[in-house]
């Protein structure tokens, strides 16, 4: 097993961090008929992306400050895919070959019901994207789509979902994104988040686990505490 410690903004993670909405079947099922009603007016034709900006990206163990105006956050546990070769209008085979490896990501999110506008205030707070602890070589994880993802709060598993539920499996997702947005070495793509991610607040310790990738753990602290 080849794995190296990941450092957000470091040489292995020098690029963008993108998340994907509606890439877990349960998410789509929950929307039901609402997907065809205003303001959405129909299912999206391609991957729906969002950005976890550089101010959000922190390493394993770093305390995450819960801002004063936020009561609780969702612990959105997911798989992160790190890119090693540029992908532009690629097919799934090219995409698979361009994966450097995998890591854990905690896409901390302020709960929000509307999916109409981009969720900056919900997803782009400082520290809201713990990443790591390691990058596991793609060759050591030949079938990520078969794995289970767990979200933990204070050591207790509060949610488990399977990557087999992805609407677009990893390689297809990367290929479809690259139709309009090129992916570059050092970019990180979060493959999707499942609904009902557990809630946590300041004072809690949150974690993400996937077998073979270890555990990504971060304490949540309140604003004003020594982070």
């Amino acid at each position: 097993m080849t794995s190296v410690t990941l450092c957000p903004g470091g040489p292995l993670l020098s690029g963008a961090v993108y998340g994907c909405l509606l890439n877990v079947q349960d998410e789509l099922d929950r929307l039901g008929d609402a997907i065809n009603e205003p303001p959405y007016n129909g299912a999206p034709t391609g991957p729906v992306m969002y950005v976890k900006t550089p101010n959000t990206q922190v390493a394993a163990g770093t305390p995450v400050v819960i801002p004063a105006d936020v009561e609780q956050v969702r612990v959105c546990a997911t798989l992160g895919v790190v890119i090693k070769d540029t992908l532009t209008r690629a097919d799934a085979d090219q995409a698979r070959a361009a994966i450097a490896g995998y890591t854990l990501v905690n896409d901390l999110t302020v709960p929000h019901d509307s999916l109409f506008r981009q969720p900056l205030k919900q997803k782009c707070r400082d520290g809201f994207c713990p990443i790591g602890p390691n990058l596991v070589d793609a060759a050591d994880l030949p079938d990520p789509d078969g794995l289970a993802v767990r979200a933990l709060v204070n050591g207790e598993c509060r949610q488990e979902w399977r990557l087999a539920e992805l609407v677009r499996p990893v390689a297809t997702l990367l290929a479809d994104i690259s139709d309009f947005t090129s992916l570059y070495p050092g970019d990180l793509i979060l493959v999707g988040v499942s609904p009902d991610a557990p809630l946590a607040g300041a004072g809690d310790i949150v974690a993400v686990e996937i077998d073979g990738l270890g555990r990504l753990e971060n304490p949540l602290v309140s604003e004003g505490e020594n982070a």
């Binding site: 950005v51 900006t53 801002p67 109409f116 506008r117 981009q118 400082d126 947005t181």
Partner: protein
């Protein structure tokens, strides 16, 4: 001072505006058509405003927003002055958007409007192309309409903030093949530059080099392969771009 990032003689380098020419670090002055222009900044975060001019909001939406309508873009979108932007085959309306771009100068967190200008390094021009018929209803505007490869020309220059004493009173003009198609003034922004610095820094730390695209006024029209689009902002620069066909 106006500075640029260019490629010349096989090297990426910094350059400066000097009496209509491009001055290199070694003192040589070359024509602007002799160099390859790169985006003048390499931002970590690219924030963009939709519907930030009342006349443009009326043009494409029913009413102006009460809070800034904000979206994010990837660095894949940026290209420099005199670059080429592909138009997809099935685009029915691909339009330019001439925008004043703010470049952040130092880390900004909880900055008050009154102090906002202290946090700005300078300004440049951006052309925030949209393929309007790709607009969808989730996390809108979705990446497919707004975060496309090569669809955000930016430059030519990063102009020092000190050289733009009043960024809230600048003329914006777009010309397509020499004909003026869009005119406006930054004084008509709904949420102005100091407001935006306060607004963003209230919930996220802005970093040096981060860019805020401040929206576009009325006059966005469809452009076709072969069209030359020049987006110009008074005192900041004239950004040239040419539309090409995207191969199916």
């Amino acid at each position: 001072m106006k500075q640029a990032r260019i490629a010349f003689e096989g090297r990426v380098q910094q350059a400066w505006e000097d009496q209509g020419k491009v001055r290199l670090a070694d003192g040589r002055r070359v024509e602007e058509t002799e160099v390859v222009w790169l985006p003048p900044v390499t931002p970590g975060t690219i924030l963009a405003l939709g519907l930030n001019y009342a006349d443009h909001a009326a043009e494409i939406a029913s009413k102006a927003p009460e809070e800034p309508m904000v979206f994010l873009k990837g660095a894949n979108t940026l290209v420099g002055h005199r670059a080429f932007t592909p138009r997809p085959d099935d685009a029915t309306n691909m339009h330019y958007e001439c925008e004043l771009a703010i470049v952040v100068g130092k880390p900004a967190r909880n900055v008050a409007k009154a102090d906002a200008y202290d946090y700005i390094a300078g300004y440049t021009v951006a052309n925030d192309y949209a393929v309007r018929n790709y607009l969808e209803g989730f996390y809108r505007p979705n990446f497919r309409i707004k975060s496309r490869d090569n669809c955000t020309p930016i430059g030519p220059w990063l102009v020092d903030a000190a050289d733009i004493p009043d960024p809230m009173n600048l003329r914006l003009t777009t010309r397509v093949n020499g004909e003026t198609t869009q005119e406006g003034s930054t004084k008509d922004m709904i949420f102005d530059v100091p407001f935006l610095i306060e607004y963003f820094s209230a919930f996220m730390t802005l970093q040096p080099g981060d860019v805020i695209l401040t929206g576009t006024p009325k006059g966005t029209v469809n452009v076709m392969p072969g069209d030359e689009v020049v987006t110009e902002i008074e005192g900041v620069g004239a950004l040239h771009n040419t539309i090409i066909a995207r191969k199916p």
